[in-house]
Subunit: 234 residues, 2 copies
Amino acid sequence: MNAQHAASRSVAPCHECSRRESCLGGALVSEDGLDNPGVQRLVIDRGDHLFREQDAAEALYVVRGGALKTYVVSAEGDEEVQGFQLSQDIAGLDALGTPTYRNSVRALSRTWLCRLPAAAVRERMMGSERMRDRLLAAMSHEFDRLHGMLHRERCSAEQRVAGFLVTQLDAQPNHDAEKAEITLPMSRSDLARYLDLATETVSRVFTRLQDRNVLRTSGAHCVITDRAALSNLA
Amino acid sequence: MNAQHAASRSVAPCHECSRRESCLGGALVSEDGLDNPGVQRLVIDRGDHLFREQDAAEALYVVRGGALKTYVVSAEGDEEVQGFQLSQDIAGLDALGTPTYRNSVRALSRTWLCRLPAAAVRERMMGSERMRDRLLAAMSHEFDRLHGMLHRERCSAEQRVAGFLVTQLDAQPNHDAEKAEITLPMSRSDLARYLDLATETVSRVFTRLQDRNVLRTSGAHCVITDRAALSNLA
DNA sequence: CGCGGATTTGACATAGTTCAATTCGAGTGG
DNA sequence: CCACTCGAATTGAACTATGTCAAATCCGCG
């Protein structure tokens, strides 16, 4: 059986996925579960590119596990980080209406993904209210994220870091659990490029917050000890 | 004839609009020109609000003439300008997937608009490829604009102002005409809040550029005398 | 255990802010 | 037509958060 046969006869992984009720993929497959619009699961390693700026924008990617970094390289040659994608997040959404991707995406660690063909998504938008609504919701969510970034970059270094940490906490499954721990999947310099700060500044902010007993951090691991204080800062 | 009759029997203004081939409105009305999905033209005065943060997001607005400012008021009480909308631009697009608007929009000068009911737009996305494609294109365009803003705010004050001016020039009908003149519809302080600079800084940059013979400015009017130099700066 | 990149710390430089003072300019009324 | 007014814009001077460069330290991995 060659790849084509496999694609046309296999059942999309979404049908048995626990997230099918909220995921874009769940709206992509028909409810009877018979057709396969070409959804594929894949895994990429740390450092691998999912796609690059100017590549043909042929798919959206939903993160199942791991972490991605979205970035562009400016005319002056330095990397500008536009965002990180963790579980449930979508990469490539901003290119659904254009022929090519406008930014590059690479894995910060081994990452598990679902690949949704852009053509199938656009096609299904017309047949399924669910798909249309989930997609519009996802896009509005991305607009919110960008507005949030814009807001954060208009704040002080301390507020940027605090705001980032709060966002990470809020995105966690156990939203308001006692133990507030985060494992930061990105390096200090990636974080700095995301917040538009010098790595040294990010570092200094972390130490300052540590001195004030707001958090404790060692490398990628970060324990928030005074969540209220952090929220007040942001 | 009451308002309801007028709405159901009138023909949408899009049918005779010169921009129907590129505008979202042109895709909203059916090709036979019989139904009216509720498109309305309206005019608002300088300072009037089109909508405010938290209002029910019931429509998109296409600018036919004039100028709008999109902004939010931060927790600290200061106004953050997220963008300006001039002819052909769309306001409210980022709220198409949410029940309420996430920002406020007001007129910088008398402004002519078309109001497209959000429900009709969402509905028509499913019946018309044209509508779907124009909408996705408009959204990707808005993503580009936000990415551009992020990039610009990571540059020096001079680059921000130059970049802004270049964008304004590029958006003009006579894209590459000899005479490069712009009439800035917004105050220096609105521009400053948009670029995330102090008004004083914006002012200083303008004088500096004038001293270097890149442009001449008096109030709202601005003549670019060295377009190449401006592009190089940005 | 030791290497090399990542992170942290320190000292100094600077772009942009802030606050205060001055000038400009569009309306307004005599 | 000109003076007057008041907000907007510009200019000036001092201050500060953050960047830059360099050195020290940490940490994961072979």
